[in-house]
Symmetry: C2
Subunit: 225 residues, 2 copies
């Protein structure tokens, strides 16, 4: 990625870009790194300030992790999205730890937290943008929370499978029961039991080698209502 | 509350107050109401824009409500706190519905959402303050979520009882099992079973008339670790 491409990316991504002085722009660019993350890499583990991550290709997963290793997926980020919660030093009001993994081979631009923070502190437009991006994820997380707290398992699993299929542009979901349980913050046994029920109803089929195939999308959609 | 007292309250509460023009201050004050809410009143039900609520006395409870009536308490607000999530028109990034009840007889100042929004849109300091207040609650909610998802029931109940006792400056928690279950997003049976266990261990005692009395605070604290 050459300098011109990086400038264009920043212009498109940060509405405050044109409020920056030339020297701020220089610092911002110098503090940015073009990084390729292998599928399955842990990118941020809640402690240090990893910086603001722009996703160019691939996908990242943000999740909570309990002391005993239980995970709950909060949301995923796709090309064009931005990960703000990984910039702990920018968001001093955020006191919880999130973990970020690359779910596929992912190409990202990571803007250094210190350089970003320095600008957000001085330029109100940058501060407002930053807070708004972070706050918009609040709603995503509340949605997940409401699903987990209030929704029945069949409905949650139906929504999950339809989302996965849509993201992959395929009728097949290539995840193990264990992985699905992890993403849904549930137990493998619970997921397996529900998948077995879906299969017995002819809604899906599954095998170890091929993953989960959606056979009757209409009925799966009915379950989400 | 006279005009001078209201001005002083706003000066103390809103760090952007002195950035406002005299005419903005006037509008802000005219759009504000001094309201007394009876214990148990529903103040905000997620739909309309109730406005920004400053708590002068009493306490408010924010919670999620499922379609079938299940509640999960997100956090409570006490004198000096501010409720920003009830001003839906100010926070366009917040797309989930919260409910707000007064838990005690509460005295509040409610600043009209439209007047507030108009100022937050024009004055960057006001916008930044608003977003920061809202975002700081994100962390509270994540804490609740992690408790519910990851923590064992004995630990959660121990924390709940200690918090309640501290808030009431008393060793007695005057809540029914049903109410505790509601606040914790759990079932009454689960709470009753755990309270019975705590009582059998001599940690608490309880009765219908007197509520729950903490007998051994040290052991209750040990449970929270």
């Amino acid at each position: 990625m050459n300098k011109q491409e990086l400038v264009e990316l920043f212009e498109d991504t940060f509405p405050f870009w044109n409020k920056l002085s030339e020297s701020d722009k220089e610092t911002f660019m110098r503090s940015s790194q073009h990084v390729h993350f292998k599928k399955g890499t842990n990118i941020h583990d809640g402690n240090e300030c990893t910086g603001v991550i722009l996703i160019k290709s691939g996908s990242l997963r943000l999740y909570l992790l309990s002391e005993d290793g239980k995970e709950v997926t909060l949301y995923r980020l796709f090309p064009g999205d931005m990960c703000m919660l990984s910039a702990s030093c920018v968001l001093e009001n955020i006191t919880f730890d999130v973990f970020v993994d690359s779910e596929e081979n992912s190409e990202c631009i990571v803007v250094g937290g210190c350089a970003y923070e320095d600008i957000a502190r001085r330029i109100p437009e940058a501060k407002i943008f930053t807070l708004e991006v972070a706050l918009s994820r609040f709603s995503d997380v509340m949605w997940v929370m409401q699903q987990i707290l209030f929704m029945s398992m069949d409905k949650r699993l139906a929504i999950f499978l339809l989302d996965e299929a849509a993201n992959a542009s395929s009728d097949t979901v290539k995840l193990t029961h264990e992985q699905i349980a992890k993403y849904m913050g549930s137990a493998r046994e619970v997921v397996s039991r529900m998948l077995k029920y879906f299969a017995s109803e002819g809604i899906i089929s599954y095998s170890r080698s091929d993953g989960i195939k959606i056979l009757d999308k209409r009925r799966l959609r009915d379950l989400t209502r």
